[in-house]
C-alpha cells in the first residue's frame, strides 16, 4: 500500500520531463537531419529512446506503490475557466509509461535493422519519436482535454506511419481510413467532452473522479468517451481500419497497432472508469466481447500473416474492453501489459520473416507475396531463432500455461465470471463468448505457427534465407523473455502478482477453479487444433472480409455522403448560382433599360449640344443618302414643317 514520500525530488521531475521530451526531441532532431546524413538517425533516435526508457524505469520505481505525482501549468482559459495542462502520474500511468517507452525503444532498435536503406528513414524515426511523445502524453495527461489532444496526435502519427511508404496506394488509403474512423470515434469523444464540460465545468480527471453520484448525463458522456475508444482501439463498429493499417512498416504495426496506441483506448477506459454507469459498463462489455468474437473468427481465415495478427489484436483488445465492462480495469490493464509484450514480439517476428524473405527474394530475384502464409512453410530450419520466439510469444497469445497471456486472460475470465453474477442472465453469454474467443485464439495461433514453421518449405525452399542481424533479434529476444509467466508473478497459476495487486483495489479476486478450467480449456483447444485444424484451411468469404463491414460502411455511409456531396455541389452550381445568375440577368435587363433611358433621354438632355449637333449632323447627313426619293421625302417633310411653322 502506498507509503508517503509526499515530495518528489527535482531529479524525479527532470527524469519525468526527459521521458516525455526526449521522444519529442527525437522527432525534431530526426526530422531535421539532412538526407545525406540519414544514417545518423539510426543512432540518435534509439539513443534518445534509451535514455527515455532508463528515465522511465526510474520514474516507474519512484511512483509505483507511492502517491500519485501531479503537476500542472495553466494552459488556456475557456470562458473564463482556466484549463490546465498537467501530469497525473499514478500507478497505471507509470506502468504504461514504462511499457510505452520500453517497447518503443525496442522497436526503435529493431527498426534500425528493418528500415535500413529506406529512403524516408528520417521521416520514419521522426514520426516514431512523435508517436512515442504523443502516446506518453495520453498516458500522463491529467485532464480529458489534454488526453484528447494527444489522442488525436497519436492518430496523426499513426496516419503518417501507416502511410509511410507513400508510393503505395494501399498505404495511403489505409492511412486515410485509419484516421477517418478514428476521427469518427473522436467526434464522439468530443461530444463526451462537451457533456462533461457542461455538467461539471472541468476536465481534470482527479476532480472528475470526485463525482460519486451517478448522474444521468454520465451514461451518455461515458458512452461518448467510449466512442473514442471504439475508434482508437478498433472496437466494433469502428474496427475495420486496423487490418488495413498493416500496410505500414511492420515495426510500426508492432508498436502502434499492437502494443501501445490501440491499447490507449483501454487505458482511457481504465482511467475514467469512475465515470461509467452500470448501463454504460454493460454496453462496453457487450461491445468488447462482440468485437473479440468477430475479430477472432476473422483471424481464423486470414492468409496474410500481419492481418492474422491484426485481427488477433482486435480480438484481444475486445477482451480487455470486455474486462473493463465487467468492472475490472485491473485485469484489463494486466492483459494490456502482457499483450503489449507478446503481441509486439509476434509482430516483430513477423517482421523478421517478411524482412529476411524480402532480402532473400531480392538476392534470388523471385517475387511472391511473403506475407501470405500459404506461400510459407517449414521455416523452422532456416529461422530457428525466430521460430522459437514466435512459439513463445504465440503461446502467450494462445494463453498456454506458464506464459504471461495465460495469467492475464485468466484474470479477464475471472473478472467476467464474477461480473456475471449468480443468477442466469445474458451475462453468461458474455462469459461463454470469452471462452470461445480464447478457444479460437488457440486455433488461429496454432494454425499460424504450423503453416509458417512446420511442414515442408513451399515457395521459400530455394531462397537463401538467413537469420537477421542481432540488432533485430535482440528486441525480439527481450520481448519473448517478457512473455513468460515470471513477468506477472512467480506462481505460474496466479495472476495476482505485483502488478495486479497494485492496480486492483478491492477484495481478493482470484478463483482457482477458473484457472484450472481455463488451463484445461486451453489444452483442449491445443489438441483440437493439432488433431482437427492442423491441415485444414477454412474458407469463408464472410470471415475473410470481416463480415463485409467495409462494404457495408461504404454502401451505408461512404456512398450516400459522397452523393450528398455531389448533390450540394449541384445545388451550389445550379440552384444558388442559377438564382444568382437569373437575378443578375434581370439586373442586366433593367440596367439595359436604364442604360437606354440614360443614353436616349438623360444623355440626350445632358449632353445636349454635343449630341444634338452630332445627331443633327448625322441626321442631315442621312439626307445625302444618294436616294432621290429620300431627298424628296425629306424636302416634303421640311416643307410641311415649314408650312406648319409659318401658317400656324
Amino acid at each position: 500500500m502506498p507509503d508517503t514520500p509526499t515530495h518528489y525530488t527535482a531529479f524525479f521531475e527532470i527524469c519525468l520531463l526527459l521521458v516525455v521530451l526526449l521522444p519529442l526531441l527525437s522527432f525534431v532532431v530526426s526530422g531535421r537531419i539532412p538526407e545525406r546524413y540519414s544514417w545518423a538517425v539510426t543512432f540518435t533516435a534509439p539513443l534518445f529512446l534509451l535514455i527515455s526508457t532508463i528515465c522511465a524505469i526510474y520514474v516507474f520505481t519512484a511512483v509505483w506503490h507511492h502517491q500519485p505525482y501531479s503537476a500542472k501549468v495553466d494552459w488556456f482559459a475557456i470562458g473564463g475557466t482556466m484549463v490546465s495542462a498537467g501530469i497525473y502520474l499514478n500507478d497505471i500511468a507509470a506502468l504504461m509509461l514504462l511499457v510505452v517507452t520500453f517497447i518503443s525503444f525496442l522497436v526503435h532498435v529493431y527498426s534500425t535493422g528493418y528500415m535500413a536503406g529506406d529512403a524516408g528513414i528520417t521521416r520514419y524515426f521522426s514520426m516514431l519519436g512523435f508517436f512515442t511523445f504523443a502516446m506518453l502524453g495520453i498516458v500522463l495527461a491529467d485532464s480529458l482535454l489534454l488526453m484528447f489532444v494527444f489522442w488525436e496526435l497519436v492518430g496523426f502519427s499513426s496516419y503518417m506511419l501507416i502511410g509511410h511508404w507513400t508510393e503505395k496506394e494501399e498505404a495511403a488509403a489505409a492511412a486515410k481510413k485509419a484516421f477517418l474512423l478514428n476521427r469518427i470515434g473522436d467526434a464522439g469523444f468530443l461530444v463526451g467532452l462537451m457533456l462533461i464540460w457542461t455538467n461539471t465545468g472541468t476536465f481534470d480527471i482527479v476532480q472528475l473522479s470526485g463525482i460519486n453520484e451517478a448522474f444521468s448525463w454520465q451514461t451518455t458522456a461515458s458512452l461518448c468517451l467510449f466512442a473514442g475508444v471504439m475508434g482508437k482501439s478498433a472496437q466494433f463498429p469502428l474496427l475495420t481500419w486496423l487490418p488495413d493499417a498493416m500496410e505500414g512498416p511492420t515495426p510500426v504495426s508492432a508498436l502502434i497497432h499492437a502494443a501501445t496506441m490501440v491499447a490507449a483506448g483501454v487505458f482511457l477506459l481504465a482511467r475514467v472508469d469512475f465515470l461509467f454507469t452500470p448501463i454504460a459498463l454493460n454496453t462496453v462489455a457487450v461491445v468488447g466481447i462482440l468485437t473479440a468474437l468477430m475479430a477472432a473468427l476473422s483471424a481464423l481465415v486470414q492468409f496474410d500473416i500481419k492481418k492474422i495478427l491484426a485481427y488477433s489484436t482486435i480480438s484481444q483488445l475486445g477482451l480487455m474492453v470486455a474486462a473493463i465492462g465487467a468492472g475490472s480495469p485491473a485485469s484489463a490493464m494486466l492483459h494490456l501489459f502482457t499483450h503489449a509484450f507478446f503481441k509486439a514480439g509476434l509482430f516483430l517476428c513477423a517482421g523478421i520473416i517478411i524482412h529476411v524473405l524480402h532480402q532473400a527474394q531480392q538476392q534470388a530475384h523471385e517475387h511472391f507475396n511473403v506475407q501470405d502464409i500459404r506461400n510459407l512453410g517449414g521455416l523452422r530450419k532456416k529461422l530457428p531463432f525466430t521460430f522459437l520466439a514466435f512459439i513463445i510469444c504465440g503461446s502467450a497469445l494462445a494463453g498456454i500455461p506458464f506464459f504471461s497471456g495465460f495469467l492475464s486472460k485468466d484474470a479477464i475470465l475471472t473478472a467476467i465470471t464474477i461480473w456475471k453474477g449468480e443468477a442466469f442472465s445474458w451475462k453468461w453469454m458474455v462469459l461463454a463468448s470469452a471462452f470461445i474467443v480464447s478457444f479460437i485464439t488457440v486455433i488461429y495461433t496454432f494454425r499460424m505457427v504450423w503453416t509458417i514453421f512446420m511442414g515442408e518449405e513451399k515457395l521459400t525452399a530455394s531462397l537463401p534465407v538467413v537469420e537477421p542481424p542481432m540488432i533485430m533479434r535482440g528486441p525480439v529476444a527481450i520481448l519473448s523473455i517478457s512473455s513468460v509467466w515470471l513477468l506477472v508473478d512467480i506462481n505460474p497459476f496466479s495472476f495476482e502478482g505485483w502488478l495486479f495487486n497494485t492496480l486492483h483495489s478491492g477484495d481478493h479476486f482470484h478463483i482457482g477453479a477458473i484457472s484450472i478450467l481455463s488451463a484445461l480449456w486451453i489444452v483442449l483447444a491445443v489438441s483440437a487444433a493439432y488433431f482437427v485444424f492442423r491441415n485444414k484451411t477454412i474458407h469463408a468469404d464472410l470471415l475473410l472480409n470481416n463480415f463485409y463491414l467495409d462494404k457495408l460502411y461504404f454502401k451505408v455511409v461512404g456512398k450516400p455522403s459522397w452523393s450528398l456531396a455531389a448533390f450540394t455541389d449541384y445545388v451550389d452550381k445550379r440552384w444558388i448560382d442559377g438564382f444568382i445568375h437569373a437575378s443578375a440577368y434581370a439586373q442586366v435587363t433593367v440596367a439595359h433599360l436604364v442604360g437606354w433611358f440614360d443614353r436616349a433621354i438623360v444623355d440626350g438632355t445632358v449632353n445636349g449640344m454635343a449630341s444634338l449637333s452630332r445627331g443633327v449632323g448625322n441626321f442631315t447627313r442621312s439626307f445625302q443618302g444618294g436616294k432621290i426619293q429620300g431627298y424628296i421625302l425629306w424636302a416634303i417633310l421640311a416643307i410641311i414643317i415649314f408650312l406648319i411653322w409659318v401658317l400656324f
Binding site: A77, G79, E152, Y159, L180, R183, T198, L564, D572
Partner: protein, 537 residues
C-alpha cells in the same frame, strides 16, 4: 494621453499609396520594397500597440476627432467622428491583418503585370482592412468597409485567372448587396440614435457605442427599443438585425449566400486569395460581433437558434461541397465556408466560451487559410493547374512542400496542437453549454457540428491521398520539369505561418488573454441587454 498607433496603421499605407502615384510605373522594385517597408513599419507599430494594450480594459488606444458635423436644422445635427480603438475583439484581428498583409506582400513578389497599380491597390486595401477592424463609428466603419470592395474588385478583375470578370463581378454584386442592407440599417440607426453627451441639442451620432445603449434611442423613432415600429410580422429592430445579419453573413460567408467565395478564390491571384480568406471573411464575423449583436441584443437572442442552425448548415454544407470539389483552391474555399460556420455557431451560443472561440476561430482561420492558399499558390505558380486528379505522388518530388501541406491540412482539420483546434473546441463547448446556461441553442447543434470535423478529415485526407501519395504521376498538360520543391521566398512566407499556427495551437493563452475579457463582457452584455428589452410581439 494621446495615442496615434491606429492612425499610423491606417494612414501610413494610404500615404505610401499616394506617394506611389507619383512614381513612374516602371519602378517595379520601388513598389515592392515600399509596400514591404510599410508592412514592416506596421508590424513595428503593432508591437508597440501590443505592449501598450492592457487586456481586460475594454476599448483602448482610442482616437476620437470630429469628422463631419453638419447642422441640418430641425433634423438636428449630423455628427460622424473619426473614432477608432481596439478591444479584445479587434486586437486579434488587427494583429492578424498586419501579419497576413506582410505575408501577402511577400507572396506578391511574383506579380509582374502592372506592378504599380497592384501595389497601390494593395496598400489601399491594407488601410481599409485595418480601418474597418478599428472603426467604432458606424459611418467610418461603413466607409472602410466599402472602401475594401473596390481594390478587391480590381485585384481580382485585373490580376485574376481565366474567369476573373465573372468572379469579380459576382464578388462585387454579392458584397454590394450586403452593403446595401447594412446601409439601410445604418440610416435607420442614424435617425433613431442621439448622442447623450449633448444635452439640449439633438445630435445624431454614428458611434457604435452610443447605438449599443438602449437609452440613447430617441423615443418613437423607427428603431426605438421600447416602441419600435412594426413592419409586417416583425418589429423594425428584428428586421434591422436580420438585414445586418444578412449583410455580414454574405461577407462571412454563410450558406446559402456563399457562392461568390469559391469563384472569387479560384480566380483571384494567390496574395489576393490570401487576403480574401484571411481578412475579408473576418469582417463578416467582426461586424456581427461589433455591430449587429450589441446594437440589437434582443434580436440576437431571438434569432440565436436561426443563426446557430445556419452556422451548422454552413459547416456541413461547406464540408460536403469541399468533398465534391475538383479544384484544389475551390476545395479550400469551401473549407473556409465550413470553418466560418463555426464562427456563427459560437456567436449564436452567446456563451463566453462560444464568443471567445469564435474570435479565436477568426484569428486562427486567418492564419491557416492564408497558409493553405499560399500552398495552393505555390503549386499553381509551378504548373498552372489546380485540378486535384491531375496530380499523384507529389510527396516524392516535393518533400518540404508536402510537409507544409500536411501542417496546413491537419491544422485546418482541427488537429490538436494547431490553432484551429483551440478555437473549435471552445466553440463546441460553448455551443453545447448554451442550452443549460442561457437556454439559447439546443445541444444537438453542437453534436451535428462535429460532423464537420469528420467531413474535414475526409476531404483533406482524400486530397492528400490523391495528390501527394501513391506513385508519382502528372496528368493533363503539366510539364514534369515544372515540379520542384519550395524556394527560399516561399519558405519565408510559409514557415512563419506554420510557426504561428503551431504557436497559437500550443500556447493559446496570450491571445485568449486578450479575447477572454471581451468575450465575457460581450456575452454578459448581450444577454442582460437583450433580456431587459422586451420584444413587443
Amino acid at each position: 494621453m494621446h495615442h496615434y498607433y491606429i492612425s499610423l496603421l491606417i494612414f501610413i499605407p494610404l500615404l505610401a499609396a499616394a506617394a506611389g502615384l507619383f512614381v513612374p510605373a516602371g519602378a517595379a522594385k520601388y513598389f515592392r520594397y515600399s509596400t514591404l517597408f510599410v508592412n514592416l513599419f506596421q508590424a513595428l507599430v503593432l508591437i508597440a500597440m501590443v505592449m501598450e494594450y492592457i487586456p481586460g480594459q475594454g476599448i483602448q488606444l482610442v482616437e476620437k476627432k470630429d469628422w463631419i458635423t453638419l447642422n441640418i436644422g430641425t433634423w438636428g445635427i449630423l455628427k460622424a467622428e473619426y473614432f477608432v480603438g481596439v478591444d479584445g475583439l479587434s486586437m486579434p484581428l488587427v494583429v492578424l491583418s498586419v501579419f497576413v498583409l506582410l505575408i501577402a506582400t511577400i507572396s506578391s513578389w511574383t506579380i509582374n503585370k502592372n506592378v504599380k497599380g497592384y501595389f497601390i491597390l494593395l496598400l489601399i486595401l491594407n488601410a481599409a482592412i485595418i480601418g474597418s477592424f478599428t472603426a467604432l463609428d458606424f459611418l467610418l466603419f461603413y466607409l472602410f468597409f466599402e472602401f475594401m470592395l473596390l481594390p478587391m474588385f480590381f485585384l481580382i478583375a485585373i490580376w485574376g485567372g481565366a474567369r476573373r470578370e465573372y468572379a469579380s463581378i459576382k464578388f462585387f454584386l454579392y458584397t454590394l448587396l450586403g452593403s446595401v442592407f447594412i446601409l439601410i440599417v445604418m440610416i435607420g440607426l442614424y435617425i433613431s440614435v442621439h448622442d447623450p453627451n449633448y444635452s439640449g441639442q439633438l445630435v445624431h451620432s454614428f458611434s457604435v457605442l452610443n447605438m449599443a445603449e438602449a437609452s440613447n434611442f430617441i423615443s418613437h423613432t423607427i428603431l426605438d427599443p421600447n416602441n419600435a415600429w412594426m413592419i409586417g410580422p416583425m418589429n423594425a429592430r428584428l428586421w434591422a438585425f436580420l438585414l445586418l445579419f444578412m449583410g455580414f453573413a454574405i461577407k462571412l460567408p454563410m450558406v446559402p449566400v456563399h457562392t461568390w467565395l469559391p469563384d472569387a478564390h479560384v480566380e483571384a491571384p494567390t496574395p489576393v486569395s490570401v487576403i480574401l480568406a484571411a481578412l475579408l471573411l473576418k469582417i463578416g464575423g467582426y461586424g456581427l460581433a461589433r455591430i449587429a449583436f450589441p446594437i440589437f441584443p434582443e434580436a440576437a437572442i431571438h434569432f440565436s437558434t436561426f443563426i446557430g442552425v445556419m452556422g451548422v448548415i454552413s459547416i456541413i454544407y461547406g464540408g460536403l461541397n469541399a468533398m465534391a470539389s475538383k479544384d484544389l483552391k475551390r476545395l479550400i474555399a469551401y473549407s473556409s465556408v465550413s470553418h466560418m460556420g463555426f464562427v456563427l455557431l459560437g456567436l449564436a451560443s452567446l456563451t463566453p466560451e462560444g464568443i471567445a472561440g469564435s474570435v479565436y476561430q477568426m484569428f486562427s482561420h486567418g492564419i491557416i487559410s492564408a497558409m493553405l492558399f499560399l500552398l495552393v499558390g505555390v503549386l499553381y505558380d509551378r504548373t498552372h493547374d489546380r485540378t486535384i486528379v491531375n496530380y499523384s505522388g507529389l510527396s516524392t518530388k516535393m518533400k518540404a512542400y508536402t510537409a507544409l501541406v500536411l501542417v496546413g491540412f491537419f491544422a485546418s482539420m482541427g488537429l490538436p496542437a494547431f490553432s484551429g483546434f483551440i478555437a473549435e473546441i471552445m466553440i463546441f463547448l460553448g455551443a453545447f453549454k448554451a442550452n443549460s446556461v442561457n437556454g439559447l441553442l439546443h445541444e444537438s447543434l453542437a453534436i451535428i457540428a462535429t460532423l464537420g470535423l469528420i467531413l474535414g478529415a475526409a476531404y483533406y485526407l482524400w486530397t492528400l491521398q490523391r495528390m501527394f501519395f501513391g506513385p508519382y504521376d502528372l496528368k493533363g498538360n503539366i510539364a514534369h520539369d515544372s515540379i520542384y520543391d519550395l524556394t527560399d521566398r516561399e519558405y519565408l512566407m510559409l514557415v512563419p505561418l506554420a510557426i504561428a499556427v503551431l504557436f497559437f495551437g500550443i500556447f493559446p493563452q496570450p491571445m485568449i488573454n486578450i479575447i477572454d475579457p471581451f468575450a465575457q463582457n460581450f456575452s454578459e452584455f448581450v444577454l442582460r441587454a437583450g433580456k431587459s428589452l422586451t420584444l413587443n410581439p
